[in-house]
């Protein structure tokens, strides 16, 4: 029995995403809003959706634009929808799109909405660069000055060091530890060897290359015209290296702990630009509008750990809860999609799921279970495809549902780790 929805089942109708491009490359001229609009516009077109039928649009993003903080509303102002489409933006670090999807699903389950679009977008090229604290204090003071003399006097206090800008770092505000340092630490704590990480990363690239070549990944991608000449369209992720070898990966130097570390640019997910969008409906509305759902949301859960401990290990706590809510065990699950922030993190998560000690921390007497490598990330993951923070969740949900359909399987599980020591898991089922 599904425990989610209290009788109103939430159907996943379709999902699309832009190609994921390493930041600073093909999509660098587009903002997160542009990318989000590409994904949502195509979702509407491809699904033959009547824009007036949509009740809410929820979008996730991590690095917010200072100029347009509610990116969801900017996307909802596409001419595909009436201007009355309400929309809001959510943030849960790398699980932001998942948060958008579960928020939208909640709205449908509650009966507040029947049709929702959820997704996320991220441009890690176009990030806001901040003035130093000293500079901002002076600029604020100057803007409040009453006379030109006063203003000039204030501005005269600017010192050279004030001009040094602050770029947002991917570091934990609570611990000061960067994401990569955390992954390196997790590798050490859990005894994940460098070779295992590199082999996992290599497999990710190889599976993604196959998924691209055989059209399965291409099927979920919106081709995006490429500036400045717009002569071609980007229709595939540009970070997948079909030809990379274990030797190449093994030759890379550790980035974070240069002496004893094992996390390299090759076994970590790259900074990425991209967007994703998923169409959700109540089961009844999907039926009434003539849509055949890909799958239904059966349950989900969020969890958190102390960020100072194992920052990216919370999926281990979320997964058993989601399975319990779904009334299933890991052995029931046909396909698993785990977000790959770092190979060290995925392998730590897999280890944690098999560990009774981690199960006990989640309040379970038995380990969640062993992940079958054959069912895991069958078309690669964030290591190869890329990881636009706010968009990844939409990609994972889409890929999982499409692949369940292709394989004619019943249950799928996805997990996502997120900054702040948070984790997410969701169980989807077909029909």
């Amino acid at each position: 029995m599904p425990t989610f929805g209290h009788g109103r089942r939430v159907a996943i109708i379709a999902g699309v995403r832009t190609p994921f491009a390493r930041s600073g490359t093909a999509l660098k001229d587009y903002t997160a809003i542009d990318l989000g609009r590409f994904a949502v516009a195509e979702l509407v077109q491809r699904t033959n959706l009547d824009g007036t039928a949509v009740d809410v649009l929820v979008f996730g993003t991590v690095v917010q634009s200072v100029m347009a903080p509610n990116i969801a509303r900017e996307v909802a102002l596409l001419p595909h929808f009436p201007r009355t489409l309400q929309a809001y933006t959510v943030g849960r670090a790398c699980a932001s799109a998942n948060q958008a999807i579960t928020d939208a699903a909640d709205q449908i389950a509650l009966g507040h909405a029947d049709v929702a679009i959820a997704g996320g977008a991220e441009s890690l090229t176009q990030v806001p660069i901040l003035h130093s604290r000293g500079m901002s204090d002076l600029l604020v003071a100057a803007s409040k000055a009453k006379s030109m003399t006063q203003r000039l006097a204030i501005l005269a206090r600017v010192r050279p060091r004030d001009f040094v800008p602050i770029t947002p770092a991917i570091a934990e505000p609570s611990t000061g530890e960067s994401m990569g340092q955390s992954a390196d630490k997790m590798a050490k704590l859990n005894g994940i060897p460098r070779e295992a990480q590199d082999r996992f990363a290599l497999a990710s690239h190889q599976k993604a290359a196959v998924g691209t070549a055989d059209g399965r990944l291409a099927a979920e991608i919106v081709p995006v015209p490429l500036p400045p000449s717009y002569e071609t369209m980007l229709a595939a992720d540009n970070g997948i290296r079909a030809d990379s070898t274990y030797e190449q990966l093994a030759a890379l130097r550790p980035v974070f702990d240069k002496q004893y570390g094992s996390v390299t640019a090759g076994n970590a997910s790259p900074l990425t630009d991209g967007a994703s969008a998923v169409l959700l409906m109540s089961e009844e509305r999907a039926h009434a509008l003539g849509y055949t759902p890909l799958a239904f949301i059966r349950s989900y859960a969020y969890a958190a750990v102390d960020p100072a401990e194992q920052l990216l290990q919370a999926p281990v706590l979320a997964a058993p809860v989601a399975l319990q809510r779904a009334g299933l065990t890991l052995s029931d699950i046909d396909l698993v999609e785990m977000h790959e922030a770092f190979a060290a993190q995925v392998l730590s998560n897999i280890q944690g799921l098999a560990s009774p000690a981690w199960a006990a921390r989640a309040g379970f007497s038995h380990a969640t279970g062993d992940i079958d490598p054959e069912r895991l990330n069958v078309m690669g993951g964030s290591l190869s495809i890329g990881h636009p923070f706010g968009a990844t969740g939409g990609r994972i949900v889409t890929t999982l549902c499409n692949e369940l359909v292709r394989r004619g399987k019943q249950f799928g599980m996805l997990t996502v780790c997120a900054a702040g020591g948070m984790g997410h898991a969701m169980i989807v089922e077909r029909a």
């Binding site: 590409f38 509407v44 077109q45 491809r46 033959n48 490429l226 717009y230 002569e231 229709a235």
Partner: protein, 732 residues
């Protein structure tokens, strides 16, 4: 506006004339004049309302309780849209036209001379005579709104402003801006109007009336509000503030006009004369010149034809195109097959309407080039500030591309612009009928009969032709082609959607070449045969430009692409025989690989950037006459090329390809640039007379057997003396 009816009970109006739709209320010393012409969507100026205004101006002057006035419109989104064109069309003599102008001038002189200030409170269109009224007001306030458009578009009807506009406009916005407005008739939007000093202030529509009344009060009390002065730069001072500079401006304006009109349109020159007279001999002489020229123009042939085209276009807009009343289905999503030049062109106009566009082609590279072409069209509009950045983004976001038929299921209309090959058309038709079960299938073919395409259809009632002209975003005509199977609602939907795209739509019967390309074919063939016989390329083009076509036939072929013309040639010849047989020159030129501008090789040479660089003399070696060129008179060229076009148009009317002479005129003017000052082929035929035409055609046919045989209908009309249009100058 609605509060007035409440006020009516409390404060009886000072003037109320329901017949013409004018009401005046006095509110705290300010006379509020509201014009709301009964039974029509927009206000126009006519000889019935003029005396009412004259009376109101007298009252304002006499009533001591009134110290200022405001002039408003009672229409929701228009102020005064100009003079009543029906009234103009009824003018019979130049003297009557001059008197009409004099009447308008005197009324507005009276308005301008009022001691008490009148404020024009404008929201919506203030055009022609409407703007002239505003110019005579002391103060002008307009709303900062997209619907607010100011213009003096009289030249577009072959006229000039006749109520003092030629004198007041230059003294308001400066000579150069005024000439630009009057000679082009272009629309001035609110922000621009403020910038050039055409209005004094812009306000939000919700406070227009209140601000206008407050300004009127201040002006009336002599508390002069700060009036925004027109920007007056150094160049303006050099050119406009002295007689010598102005002389230069007038000289340049005349040269520009002549270069553009080739002397076919007298109105712009008359406007320049009237403005100049005002500067050299004073305003009252200027006004006299304006009235005299206006009078002469109202009864001129050119103006009659342009007014005819105006009425014909207006009438066409109300014509559903279906023989029986049928409901048009609103098109919210349009599928386009083929992202090439035509497909992308159609997409570029479709995305500018609230339609989602789904474009399909075989490869993403082709989709990309289509997407780019659409973007280029929109980018140009953005650059010209015709659309905002937000509109640009929204329009572009309506376009999506696919290499399969995903997203086609919800399309109400699918337009194919794929390769001109019947088998290909049949294939895509079947695919569309499977992928888009509810859609109408429209072919943009220019050569293949629609009935042939419809043979592959399981539902031929939903198949028709939508023949757009290239470049789609610039060419105003759309031919909707129906077969005997096309249903009335299918026709109505295509016509309605074509209008939504801003096109002038004619409905034509299926047949080789439909209408426009069919009448074009003998014209192009005979042009080619002139080259066969030894005419030179530039002389041919020059003669027909002189006749009034925007470009000559050789240039047209280069622009359209000779390969395209080459494709239709055999089809037309097979259907119609000798008179449609392509010229030897054309066939040989195509064989030589010259396909026109796109290959930078055609009748003309093109440099690397595609800039034209004179006639390609090598072409002559390909003609039967070889390098020997002989001289043809302009008249000879006209007779040999234009007459067969007219003749073919008559055949089309006789065969029911076009439904009326009106549609035939509109199709030729908007589809191939047939000279508008001639009114279209059928109006031109009436001008020449069927008898004269038959005589000329017979003579040519003796010389060139089978190519100039007069159409049977034309021969019959020559005998009976009948005309295609009832009376010259009358509304269609």
């Amino acid at each position: 506006m609605t509060t007035l009816s409440v006020n009516d009970a409390l404060y009886p109006p000072l003037v109320r004339d329901d017949a013409v739709g004018v009401t005046v209320h006095v509110d705290d010393g300010v006379a509020v004049i509201v014009y709301d012409q009964p039974g029509v969507p927009v206000n126009t100026l006519n000889t019935r309302v003029a005396p009412v205004f004259a009376h109101i101006f007298d009252l304002i002057e006499q009533e001591s309780a009134i110290f200022a006035a405001v002039l408003c419109s009672g229409k929701p989104d228009s102020w005064i849209a100009g003079a009543d064109i029906d009234e103009l069309a009824r003018v019979r003599t130049a003297a009557d036209g001059e008197a009409l102008s004099r009447g308008g001038q005197q009324l507005l002189d009276r308005l301008a001379a009022l001691q008490k200030p009148v404020v024009a409170a404008m929201h919506g269109a203030a055009l022609g005579g409407g703007l002239e009224v505003a110019l005579a007001c002391r103060h002008r306030i307009a709303t900062d709104h997209v619907k607010t458009i100011l213009a003096l578009p009289e030249v577009q009807l072959g006229l000039i402003p006749g109520a003092g506009g030629t004198q007041r406009l230059p003294r308001t916005v400066g000579l150069q801006v005024a000439l630009d407005m009057m000679l082009t008739g272009k629309n001035i939007r609110a922000k621009k109007a403020l910038q050039i000093g055409l209005v004094h202030e812009l306000v939000h529509p919700s406070i227009l009336r209140a601000v206008a009344m407050e300004r009127a009060r201040q002006l009336g009390r002599g508390e002069s509000p700060t009036l925004r002065a027109r920007k007056h730069g150094a160049t303006d001072m050099l050119l406009e503030d002295n007689a010598l500079g102005r002389k230069l401006v007038f000289k340049q304006a005349r040269e520009t006009v002549l270069a553009k009109t080739k002397g076919h349109y007298p109105a712009p020159l008359a406007a320049i004369d009237a403005v100049q007279r005002g500067y050299t001999d004073g305003v009252s002489e200027g006004l006299a010149e304006e009235a005299r020229r206006f009078g002469a123009l109202t009864v001129s042939d050119v103006s009659r034809q342009l007014v005819y085209l105006f009425f014909a276009t207006t009438a066409l807009k109300k014509d559903s195109g279906a023989t029986i009343d049928a409901e048009a289905t609103p098109v919210r999503k349009v599928g386009i097959l083929g992202a090439g030049f035509m497909g992308a062109g159609i997409a570029s106009v479709a995305v500018q309407q609230p339609t989602l566009v789904r474009m399909r082609d075989a490869s993403l590279d082709r989709i990309a080039s289509g997407w780019r072409a659409v973007r280029d069209v929109l980018r140009e509009r953005l650059k010209r500030k015709q659309i905002t950045r937000q509109q640009f983004d929204d329009m572009l976001s309506r376009l999506s591309g696919t290499t399969d038929y995903s997203g086609f299921a919800s399309a109400e209309l699918v337009i194919e612009a794929v390769f001109e090959d019947l088998a290909v058309k049949h294939q895509v038709l079947r695919e569309v009928e499977a992928a888009a079960p509810h859609a109408i299938f429209a072919s943009n073919t220019s050569t293949i009969p629609i009935a042939d395409i419809a043979q592959a259809s399981a539902r031929p009632d939903r198949v028709l032709g939508m023949h757009f002209f290239s470049p789609v975003h610039k060419m105003p005509l759309l031919e909707v082609i129906v077969t005997p199977h096309t249903s009335a609602s299918t026709t109505a939907t295509a016509v309605q959607y074509g209008r939504t795209l801003g096109k002038t739509v004619i409905v034509v019967r299926d047949g080789p070449g439909f209408y426009v390309n069919r009448i074009l074919a003998p014209y192009l063939n005979e042009s080619g045969k002139l080259l066969d016989d030894g005419a030179s390329i530039d002389a041919l083009d020059e003669a027909l430009v002189k006749f009034g076509f925007p470009v000559g036939p050789a240039t047209l072929l280069d622009e359209v692409g000779l390969d395209i013309a080459g494709k239709s040639g055999p089809i037309m010849a097979a259907a119609f025989g000798e008179r449609m047989r392509p010229s030897t020159t054309l066939l040989r030129v195509i064989d030589s690989g010259r396909v026109g501008r796109k290959a930078r090789r055609g009748f003309y040479r093109y440099d690397r950037k595609g800039k034209r660089d004179g006639v390609d003399e090598d072409v002559y070696a390909l003609t039967p006459a070889g390098s020997v060129r002989r001289v043809y008179s302009v008249e000879e060229i006209r007779q040999r090329t234009v007459l067969p076009m007219l003749n073919e148009a008559v055949r089309c009317l006789d065969e029911g390809i076009v439904r009326s002479a009106r549609d035939g005129d509109i199709g030729a003017v908007f589809g191939i640039g047939f000279p508008p000052f001639l009114g279209g082929p059928f109006r031109y035929l009436d001008t020449i007379g069927a008898a004269v035409l038959v005589q000329q055609l017979d003579a040519l046919n003796r010389q060139f057997p089978g190519r100039y045989e007069p159409a049977p209908l034309l021969r019959a009309m020559a005998t009976s003396g009948a005309r295609f249009h009832e009376v010259a100058g009358s509304p269609a």
